[in-house]
């Protein structure tokens, strides 16, 4: 039996430590992982926990992230609770197998620390890897600070393994800005945390020799469509389970999470929508904007997939001007989050002015002042009642202003 880890009610943890403790408390059967900056400490800490007797499960050493996720799929199909961690290039190498994991409905939990994708090589935080996994059929949860990295990881197991979901879940935290920033985290004790997640419930385990099953069947044009449709339906239905798990988590801890987080949105005329650590930065900027007379609010989708279309539209419907903040190079169109927001508003018949801001690529520091500039832009659009600023703008970029679809062009 694994030893109990003595925890204080308040610990000073960075996001990586928080995620590692959550994995430990989940008593994962198999962790197969390959270290990569900035998520290395998650698996390093986990391996240490195992070596010190705090974990009963297996830690599988692999030679690449492709193998890490492959081992995870195998262990999950075999019938175990499975988790891993990665970032950036490792995530990219996993992509092929991410689709396998979700298609085989393996409820794997992956604690992702978001980092830019090469080239040029960069170890710092942006959302290039998260966006790369966008269509992989996973649930992607967003954690904006170490406490949330801990909480989301505990919730991730419960969501993934729910019999109505049975899909892999990733938890995402910004590289370094969350993963290496120590803050106060209030953990649950080991028993309470495990009890919240519950025992793993197997479904069609390959190690049940009395009921042999085939995983990874080939389904050509007569079947593939139906399987993918069913998987999409499971994702579309998953918000109900996510909300139920969040409710149970709130009952246990008092910490409340929603599909869409918001700050000062009751009377907001302008709003920034951001995922990750910039959500917190934008909240401070919103306070400053209000001091300047701009009725500013901030919104963060807690789940990037499934994307809470209706909830996002609902919370933004009365906002005059919206700034969609994408921390990834859009490479030929508007940002992915920008796209989601305009899609959500349009789908439900709202027509706020939406402009996109590309920020923080490769860990470029994005400050309160930078967010305040965005709010000022949005105020101009709100006041004019039409878009007077460019549709897409790169912020804090060195050199002449880089923007697209300027008004009047």
């Amino acid at each position: 039996m694994a030893e109990k880890y003595e925890l204080k009610t308040k610990e000073v943890w960075d996001g990586n430590t928080a995620a590692a403790h959550a994995l430990r408390q989940a008593q994962v059967d198999v962790v197969a992982a390959y270290p990569i900056t900035p998520s290395t400490p998650i698996v390093q800490n986990y391996a240490q926990f195992l070596a010190d007797g705090y974990v009963d499960g297996e830690f599988v050493m692999v030679e690449s992230e492709h193998s890490a996720m492959s081992a995870c799929v195998g262990a999950s199909a075999a019938g175990g609770r499975v988790a891993t961690a990665t970032s950036s290039q490792g995530y990219a190498l996993m992509v092929e197998v991410l689709y396998q994991a979700s298609g085989m409905r393996c409820p794997i939990v992956m604690t992702v620390v978001n980092r830019a994708l090469a080239s040029p090589l960069n170890i710092h935080g942006d959302h290039g890897d998260l966006y790369l996994g966008r269509d992989a059929g996973w649930i992607h949860l967003i954690a904006n600070n170490p406490q949330e990295a801990y909480d989301m990881t505990l919730c991730a197991f419960k969501i993934a393994e729910d019999e109505d979901v049975r899909l892999p879940v990733s938890t995402n935290q910004d590289g370094f800005l969350v993963s290496h920033t120590a803050q106060i985290v209030e953990p649950l004790d080991d028993d309470t945390a495990y009890k919240f997640i519950g025992d793993y419930k197997q479904r069609n385990p390959m190690l049940d020799f009395n009921n042999p099953v085939t995983y990874g069947a080939q389904t050509e044009e007569e079947w593939h469509f139906e399987h993918k449709a069913r998987q999409h339906k499971a994702l579309m239905d998953s918000p109900a389970v996510i909300e139920r798990v969040f409710k149970e988590f709130k009952d246990l801890t008092g910490r409340e999470y929603k599909l869409v987080e918001s700050y000062n949105m009751d009377d907001a005329e302008v709003a920034v929508v951001a995922m990750g650590s910039n959500y917190e930065t934008a909240k401070i900027a919103a306070d400053k904007a209000r001091e300047m007379g701009i009725k500013a609010g901030v919104v963060c989708p807690r789940s990037f997939r499934p994307f809470p279309l209706k909830e996002v539209a609902e919370i933004l419907k009365n906002v005059k001007a919206i700034g969609a903040m994408d921390r990834s190079a859009p490479m030929g169109t508007i940002g992915a989050l920008h796209n989601e927001i305009t899609g959500a508003l349009n789908a439900f018949g709202y027509n706020s002015i939406v402009t996109g801001y590309i920020y923080g690529l490769g860990g470029r520091d994005t400050t309160v002042e930078d967010n305040l500039e965005v709010f000022k832009d949005l105020a101009l659009n709100a006041e004019a009642g039409k878009r007077v600023t460019p549709l897409q703008k790169f912020i804090k970029l060195r050199g002449p202003e880089l923007s697209f679809f300027k008004v009047g062009e």
């Binding site: 409905r105 049975r166 995983y215 069947a217 079947w223 139906e226």
Partner: protein, 134 residues
């Protein structure tokens, strides 16, 4: 191979994850079992087996990645049980040609031919041992 229409369910009916169960509740092969699958219809070239030159070394049987060599149990002169290669399972052979590579007889007992080749014709025109020149 095309999935038989009686096995096609609607999107909301099958087991999630495309998981296929091998046996039904009574322990019989389920309709999803691959026992009756024919998985060779994409083959372009096929091996043809020539019994008359085969020495039953079983290299092909061992090397075949799809276990496609059909064997019969026979007794040799000493009364010992032995495997005799009698043919190829064309429902599973993908035409990889590994068997031809490993066949050790001076004139190969296995050769690759285009899929449409008639077996009798191929055997009738099998390469002959070249006469030794003086």
């Amino acid at each position: 191979m095309a999935t038989p229409t009686e096995r096609l369910e609607n999107w909301d009916e099958f087991e999630i994850g495309a998981v296929l169960k091998s046996f039904d509740e009574n322990g019989n092969y389920s309709r999803d079992h691959s026992k009756t699958y024919k998985v060779a219809d994409w083959r372009v070239n096929k091996p043809i087996f020539n019994r008359s030159t085969c020495i039953d070394c079983d290299n092909c049987w061992l090397a075949c990645p799809d276990t496609c060599f059909i064997v019969e149990a026979v007794e040799n002169k000493k009364g010992k049980k032995q495997a005799k290669i009698v043919g190829i399972d064309y429902d599973h052979c993908k035409g990889c040609g590994v068997c031809v590579e490993v066949c050790p007889t001076p004139i190969k007992s296995l050769l690759m031919f285009p899929e449409f080749t008639d077996e009798k014709e191929a055997l009738a025109n099998w390469p002959k041992k070249e006469d030794k020149k003086d």
